[in-house]
Subunit: 389 residues, 2 copies
Amino acid sequence: MSVRYGLLALLRDHGPQSRAQLAGRLQVPRPRVLAELDRLTAAGTIVEAGPTASRGGRRSTLVKLDPGLRFAAIDLDARAVGVEVTDGCLRTVASHSEHCDIRTGPETVLGRVTQILDKIRAEGRFTRLDAIGIGLPGPVSFRDGIPVSPPLMPGWDRHPVRDVLSGEHGCPVAVDNDVNVMTLGERHSGVARTVDNLIFVKIGSGIGCGVQIDGRVYRGATGCAGDIGHIQVDGDGPVCLCGNAGCLEAHFSREALTRHAESAADGDRSPVLAERLAAKGSLTARDVADGAAAGDAVCIGIVRAGGRRVGQVLAGLVSFMNPSMIVIGGDLADLGHILLAELRSVVYQRSLPLATGDLPIVLSELGARAGVVGAAVLASELAYGGPAG
Amino acid sequence: MSVRYGLLALLRDHGPQSRAQLAGRLQVPRPRVLAELDRLTAAGTIVEAGPTASRGGRRSTLVKLDPGLRFAAIDLDARAVGVEVTDGCLRTVASHSEHCDIRTGPETVLGRVTQILDKIRAEGRFTRLDAIGIGLPGPVSFRDGIPVSPPLMPGWDRHPVRDVLSGEHGCPVAVDNDVNVMTLGERHSGVARTVDNLIFVKIGSGIGCGVQIDGRVYRGATGCAGDIGHIQVDGDGPVCLCGNAGCLEAHFSREALTRHAESAADGDRSPVLAERLAAKGSLTARDVADGAAAGDAVCIGIVRAGGRRVGQVLAGLVSFMNPSMIVIGGDLADLGHILLAELRSVVYQRSLPLATGDLPIVLSELGARAGVVGAAVLASELAYGGPAG
């Protein structure tokens, strides 16, 4: 990690500090720290922030990030867009979210993102952006800043998302897969702070995971690491959209859950679900979660079966990767503790004791905000010269 | 990576070079390289090696590693010990291997290792060792240099292997798990040279894998990454020694293979195996390999079934890790191309095309030498201040 990034990340995450504090925390020779601080001051990236609190001795001066720094964080999913503008410390200065169908294509969706940002600018929340971070719900070539054959995003394949946004807003842009971005968010300011070897599992319309190793996003040889939704959990299982049988996603995802729930309602096995289906005409994961919370045996059974399948895959990954923590996020994390209990029981039973002894398996702390928080972290790493790459 | 290690690794892997060549290859400012070379020369670690070949201009001087540098590489497995002494470039100057039952305990086995090294010393092959690298067939705490609850090594739990050998031979010692060591060997001078994200699978008395990420051994949160032998491949499968059902190892390992082969011989399903069993009283993996090579359908079937199970696990790991290469090693790699073909077909069918598009799945090039070659690399990384840690 560069001295520059080390300093800026400390100021981002811990606020104003003295030069001596920064040098001490970075464990870099003081002259190098002071030289870098001088460069950052000359460039206007950091400014003086008044004297330290007196402790009797000579008082020194605090430095802080330029209060005018602005990042835009964009979280696109299949059906919504979330936009936040933050300052250099990633504090929200403006936010907006709305329904947005990603299938309307990149011109429409990115055009709308630009309108939202222009409106925030017109409200006086920023004059210029220092960087943009954006997460997309599909495979992304991080190096090229483009989506690559994203199954849920017709019309987006190889669309130059980075270059379009960069041209539009005159700042550098980092584009990443939504799960990697959520993982970044959860590690920066969620439940996984200071966790080095992390698996973040997103359960939503599909199942994917973000992997961090030594505190950095691990992308794999061709950028598709973490694509666990098509791991086979049952050779005789249902046929998946990918053409193979028994994929994890075919057993458990927003769609699979809805299917199981509607079939239970139709078969009159669950009065709770049957009543809701009659009232609304369709069911969602939320209905199953509510039914399970209310003690409906069928709903609990559906959630447990899903948790077992996810646990089965995670048990293998735990043996292989020996992570320090697993975080469960995405819409279906709403299924909460019944899901978590089942998943934990499979992992703890099936993986090596040495690998599970100290292994927390927990729900995301940031929930629906993980994506936008992570996108802001991504933007800051780009602007500060940090480790996302 | 430090400049010191960078220089020593270049001299280890590419032989004598001029200072200018070293500076060019390292991409470090020339004054830093020259200063480090001066320090290494003063310490006697490198020496001058005569002038470069003339290319018309001014001739410069080559430097090389001190020809007196010596590393000991020790490869312990359940039934044998291999010892090599190498020079600083990892060229073998002496080697010895013999039968050795690891269950006789650490005093006996390490005592024998020391006798072998003393004998090599007495033959004049070295006067002192600069470092020792040793691989053990079980879980190892790399930091502490001790085996931790190794199932195949009664009496070895927490035995201070590093400190014992270090005290005995007066040099630093690095202790690692045998699969990690083989992975290191295969990446340094086998089929996986220059491969950054690597899975090396050892199939022998059990199944384990070594993982390298960005060219470094990945150990995981508690040092047990790669322990894939107990990943479940069949919920209704045979009960494993670990107590769970359907573990990969319970389906395919030296023991499982022998069991399948003897049962096929007893049931008279395979004339080849029945004949060998009658002649020898027992069967080994070699008999199955020979039978398969000779076209015996039962032997081919046994190998294919094993390949399918290993492939099933690897398919999941490929989706998760998106490696750049998979290498198959260990005794059972002798089963060769029938095993490989089956395993490949499962992985290529089950994993994401983006992850398998450029993914070579190949047999180990170093074969039985992977362990001792890797142990020498481990020793050199320790002595040169390199990345193994």
